[in-house]
């Protein structure tokens, strides 16, 4: 058994695609029409095209997800975390592209991390991950 996918709640495919591809730099791997304006869209990192896929899950308007996202956002808690090689460089690059950070790069307990707003209602952590 292995982990192959993780999902991000979104409400608008185009807005989510714009942020995750143009700003974060992921690339589309799957885009399948599912009917009823539903699509199965996954993204991967160009550094790891065969790695885990990020599913854009159009469930942001579900009442459970809405409540979850509101309380996570209020407390500044990220919904997931992506690994970066050079957080300072990413922080500078993304800030330059107008991305809002709710937590600037912070070094704690061997981790170096920051938290950004994905403009789709989620907070995402970027981290330089220490080897386990």
């Amino acid at each position: 058994m292995k982990i192959y996918i993780t999902s991000i709640p979104i409400s608008d495919y185009e807005n989510a695609l714009a942020f995750y591809t143009e700003k974060l730099g992921f690339v589309k791997k799957r885009d399948v029409e599912m009917g009823h304006a539903m699509r199965f869209i996954t993204l991967v990192s160009p550094e790891d095209p065969d790695g885990p896929e990020l599913l854009l899950e159009p469930n942001a308007d579900h009442r459970g997800i809405r409540a979850l996202r509101e309380s996570l956002a209020e407390d500044g808690i990220p919904i997931t975390s992506f690994a970066v090689k050079d957080l300072d460089a990413e922080y500078k690059r993304l800030s330059g592209l107008g991305v809002l950070f709710t937590q600037k790069p912070m070094r704690q307990g061997g981790w170096y991390s920051a938290v950004l707003d994905d403009t789709n209602g989620n907070l995402i952590e970027l981290a330089e991950v220490p080897s386990a």
């Binding site: 509101e70 956002a73 209020e74 407390d75 500044g76 808690i77 990220p78 709710t102 937590q103 912070m106 704690q108 307990g109 938290v115 707003d117 209602g121």
Partner: protein, 100 residues
């Protein structure tokens, strides 16, 4: 007779009479404007405060009631800022009464 002022002073001393709440103020004086998420990480790693986010959130409510922190909402986010204004009243209160 208890006045409104007395109650505020009570809230202030009560807020300060707890080591975790003092650590929160220490952290905000170093890095002002933190989310609960960031604050909990800093408290854990720099002050060995292992309280839950729920507990820290309650400490923040006590500090806010004493006006020692101010919460600013930016969009959907809440950032916490230190406010040292109430401490001036403590400093002034017994000033000039020291034994010379």
């Amino acid at each position: 007779m208890f006045t409104c002022h007395t109650l505020l002073v009570d809230l202030l001393f009560k807020a300060l009479a707890d080591p975790t709440r003092r650590s929160i103020l220490d952290e905000l004086s170093k890095h002002d404007g933190q989310t609960l998420f960031e604050l909990c990480q800093r408290l854990l790693f720099e002050h060995k405060v292992e309280s839950s986010r729920q507990a820290i959130s309650q400490h923040l409510d006590v500090l806010e009631a004493a006006d020692l922190i101010r919460v600013k909402r930016q969009g959907r986010y809440k950032f916490h800022f230190i406010n040292t204004e109430p401490l001036k009243a403590i400093q002034q209160r017994w000033r000039g009464k020291e034994a010379s």
